[in-house]
Symmetry: C3
Amino acid sequence: MLPALVLLLLLLCLPGMAGAATREYWVAAAPARWNAVPNGWDAIHGTAVDPAATVFPTVTYRRYTRGWRRPARLDREAGAGRIPGPLLRARVGDRILIHFKNLDTVARRRHSMHFHGVEYEHGSDGAFIPGFSGPGAVVPVGGTFTYELRAGRGSTGVWPYHDHSTAMDASIAGGMYGVLSILGRRERAPDREFVVAFAPMGTLQTVNGRAFVGNTPVFSARVGEVVQWDVIAMGSEHHTFHVHGHRWRGGDGVPLDTRTIGPAESFRVRWREDAPGAWLYHCHVENHMAQGMIGLYRVRR
Amino acid sequence: MLPALVLLLLLLCLPGMAGAATREYWVAAAPARWNAVPNGWDAIHGTAVDPAATVFPTVTYRRYTRGWRRPARLDREAGAGRIPGPLLRARVGDRILIHFKNLDTVARRRHSMHFHGVEYEHGSDGAFIPGFSGPGAVVPVGGTFTYELRAGRGSTGVWPYHDHSTAMDASIAGGMYGVLSILGRRERAPDREFVVAFAPMGTLQTVNGRAFVGNTPVFSARVGEVVQWDVIAMGSEHHTFHVHGHRWRGGDGVPLDTRTIGPAESFRVRWREDAPGAWLYHCHVENHMAQGMIGLYRVRR
Amino acid sequence: MLPALVLLLLLLCLPGMAGAATREYWVAAAPARWNAVPNGWDAIHGTAVDPAATVFPTVTYRRYTRGWRRPARLDREAGAGRIPGPLLRARVGDRILIHFKNLDTVARRRHSMHFHGVEYEHGSDGAFIPGFSGPGAVVPVGGTFTYELRAGRGSTGVWPYHDHSTAMDASIAGGMYGVLSILGRRERAPDREFVVAFAPMGTLQTVNGRAFVGNTPVFSARVGEVVQWDVIAMGSEHHTFHVHGHRWRGGDGVPLDTRTIGPAESFRVRWREDAPGAWLYHCHVENHMAQGMIGLYRVRR
């Protein structure tokens, strides 16, 4: 009887134990020439957008292969990889090592990575505090630093990461932020995961660094799939995330279809898809919609 | 024994089944001459308000009798009917048909209705998307469209509706929005229901299109009544809804007396009235209070 | 058997009954010369701040000994006492008497106290409403008023209080606000309680009336202690409260490390401290951080 019970307990625990792992990511701050409105067009208002105001040099987080040998492929389905940076995935219980290299040979600024939601010792905080912070807060051009993080029991969810070095203000304005997505120990992954990062860029209001329908990510799903939206905001403004034709429940069980999000806040929204069509997702702040913070979500049968 | 059980089950289910219905509303986009400060006075600061800046032509949603024969009476107790438009009520399980007619013979713009919180097929979305949207997104002057909605299990609560056509920005600035209020299948209706729509109009900050105490709605209740506040916001700013002398619990059970609301967000607040007096309700953003977003709530014994 | 049961019930109830009390506070609106940046330095950006723009006369709430005989000592651990005013503590079930005196002999304005979260009769509302409010809303220079409050079952939490008299706008801009902290009837007090009041002062964004690391409060705790953050916001802007290296759960159980707070909203956050180091706490609105809304939290082993 007792051995059977022990075996049963072991079998119950194994899937969780098997999930715990050390995850390693190689990331660099890398120069990029960015075009926030590639098609030069605000389709909703039917007006042209001047490319002179929407193409500019910047520095963003980019995922690399082991040892920063070469850039890794982008996560196009999630709409991530350049702005926002790589979607970093883990599970509660995981140890996460982020190997960071500063390749900013253009602006030649010091950079760092500061992670929300995860546990770490003070040395991995990545935030510049005169007199208190260490090398992880001010990685010089050409330098490297490994941030050691743990996904604890209170880390389930989606979280921003961003530069918190001396040049933080300029870095964030240029798109130096990304998303951590952490599943519970035994939580099932969604079928589709979409990253929505609301942030201003100059006079534009962008989703993932792009403005206006046709430039912002077109997310896709099929009826029956479980979709997850990873929503963050960066900058100095509050937003309201809205998806047409869909509703979800907040953590308190109250139905929602629009939710406020302020700078560095984050939340995830899930549903099983049941509404075919070409839907809008957007920030519902009217000025932000008009300045480009809007995109398409296509659901096929 | 069995027939008795069946009968009992039937009796238990009947009230809910009886609640399910098809609700039809006849609504038009109708021109109006609007006065945001009818008494020309900011009573709290004791200053006159120039009528030249507060009276203007606009277009709002208005409820009509069947077949748009004549305007229906306004819902004065709830403070709704012109700005915001009619308070549209339903219950979970209901089918809702909104017969919309564009009577905007003044600005002669195309208009639509986009509903939050409810379920609908793509054709009833009411939002203009070049290449994807249909006739319900761009109803021409003189034209009609019927939006077919369902109040699903995730539709309980209060929700905004608003123009989402090509002229959406100007329409919302002029007051083209309203509130849907959906009760649970067997939920008891409140004794009093008050609509509070926070939105800017020009340089004013309004409640239901009016600014300053004495112009904004005066809501009334008696001790012992269950009162419900239907709060929405439209425009480009975030607000905080506050009622003096009262508290309520959020969906998570935490006591509140002030709550953030951003554009197109919505929530309802309920309590059994126990505090007689003449109370203020207002947006607690200081500038918004000073620009008129404040009113009176009178509770009698 | 029965007498034993009655005795047991009595013993169980006594701690709660013993907690109910009448708490009296003596508070005055008192002139002060305030320096928002005493060290004249923005340490994060390494720039000097002009004292001409950061030192000014103002009026704040200050706690006094019984009968307003002399100012009481400040609550330095909580970072309260001048801006924000005294941290007023109570428990659910308590009656709270706030004896207020207007000592504003400088600006010579009428003042009041309006309390969030607690129960009171209309006469203790403290808000000026022409035609409806009484003497508690407009206490003249040299005058006094006693606000009679009750901490009800829906009063657990932290709440702002502030001037709501005719000069409310100027008073709040000058720092005339404070925090009420109300524990549940039998709730254990935290080991450390920190007040964080986000509000603008001129062009600065302040925590407790101070701007920039080294001027804003330095909060301190030790590993193993239960710490509580009492967060409020005043003014016209929304903020996001963030503490580095820590997470907590919202009322709905969802993990957070950043949370939106708008004018007059308030919440408390608790955790058992387990992360030694010198951490930043700040508003995550980027412009607000840059304008001073940031401070240090030191955790010792």
